[in-house]
Symmetry: C2
Subunit: 239 residues, 2 copies
């Protein structure tokens, strides 16, 4: 019997609430969040749990903590927040990012020029790939190709990703949660295809990211390649 853990951890619940309040402007940049002890009372949790929520906000760069002072809300990012682990869509305020699906999910082979080594199990299972272009304020900012192992993903190729994020789809329908990963970054010249996708000229400098995501499912990794136009927007992230 598969016992999917549909209960989200409490620290994540608090993280979500606080993040909403920061992104909605309830807590303004420069403000100090309620102290850890106050949050303990408010959410009826103990301090280690609250601290775990706050440390996730630090990871995202939404707050910084100062000993003897508190948790200070940071100014929202002006660039593209895809350096950290959150899904792309959740890195932007609602409505600012638009997505165009170039290639719907298709079953096929793994690409030959993967930036990461993949295990034989995954290679044999084959690969589901899709590609999208994301735009910010009507300028194409990045072109993304995602590769997932074709294991236990019933009806995946028929799903739509227009409005939903891939991360949420994986979580909701397949109980797959991203737990971590690695990335590689380099600068390169745009080739013909990428230039077309990002509305640039061939040879323009673009930024390439290769990502490997680990999940709660043992040995289930998936991959994404991104090409970014950074003429107007930096990539941003916390250290």
């Amino acid at each position: 019997m598969e016992t999917t853990s549909l209960t989200i951890p409490r620290y994540r619940h608090v993280y979500n609430r606080l993040r909403e309040k920061i992104q909605d402007g309830v807590y303004q940049p420069g403000d100090v969040l309620p102290s850890e002890n106050v949050l303990c009372e408010r959410y009826e949790l103990t301090r280690p749990t609250i601290r775990q929520s706050l440390s996730e906000l630090v990871k995202d760069g939404l707050i910084i903590k100062q000993k003897g002072v508190g948790s200070i809300v940071q100014k929202p990012k002006t660039g593209i927040g895809i350096l950290n682990i959150r899904s792309t869509t959740s890195s932007f305020p609602k409505g600012t990012l638009s997505t165009r699906v170039i290639e719907s999910p298709t079953v096929g082979e793994w690409p030959s020029d993967m930036a990461f080594d993949i295990e034989d199990d995954l290679r044999e299972a084959g690969c589901v790939s899709l590609s999208r272009v994301r735009s910010l304020h009507d300028t194409a900012v990045f072109y993304e190709r995602t590769y997932l192992p074709n294991i236990n993903l019933p009806r995946f190729t028929q799903r739509k990703f227009e409005d939903k994020s891939l991360f949420k789809t994986l979580a909701k329908h397949y109980d797959i949660h991203v737990t971590g990963g690695k990335q590689k970054i380099r600068a390169m010249k745009a080739d013909a295809h990428t230039a077309q996708m990002l509305l640039l000229h061939v040879g323009d400098p673009i930024l390439q990211l290769e990502k490997e995501y680990t999940t709660n499912r043992n040995k289930y990794l998936f991959y994404a390649s991104l090409w970014c136009n950074t003429d107007n927007y930096y990539l941003e992230g916390a250290l």
Copy 2:
């Protein structure tokens, strides 16, 4: 009275030990680290403390954790590990990275084109800047300019950074520890000066990083600009 905290936290001590053992090959890639309970006994600490050490190793991408299995050692990075918070020198095995000082620490003004807003206090204090070129296997991989506020840094301009890292110098002589930060990344064409530093041609695609570091000292921030040649080495980091 200044009471400098010269005792390092225990979780950091364990982190350092484990990291040494991983980088020295005592624990090989694919190996499972001793379980948390075993580490508790070995270092005579409790599990939350051990877990904090391990979570730092996860941040660095040195291990990943798998529920029901353990902490699995990852393959060492083949690229440049400057996306995370560690100092540049500590991101490389000893002896692989060479540093050439282009401009020794000099007191002057802040640059006019800073990627981050700086507070008035810092601006008025003036700025100490230095620049270095770092090479990996005889190829120049990045050119780095560092900017520090000129506050309480006696004899700083006379110090040498040839062999020591800036992070260690700040920690040892001034008790300044880096606690976090932000970064911005973009792709651009090399200008004349950068091309000369990195032995490239003008117009070649290079990667630019702007970093803002926060420290344990209240309101003491410092900054670094990096230009990277990613022709041969990716930038790598954990998510």
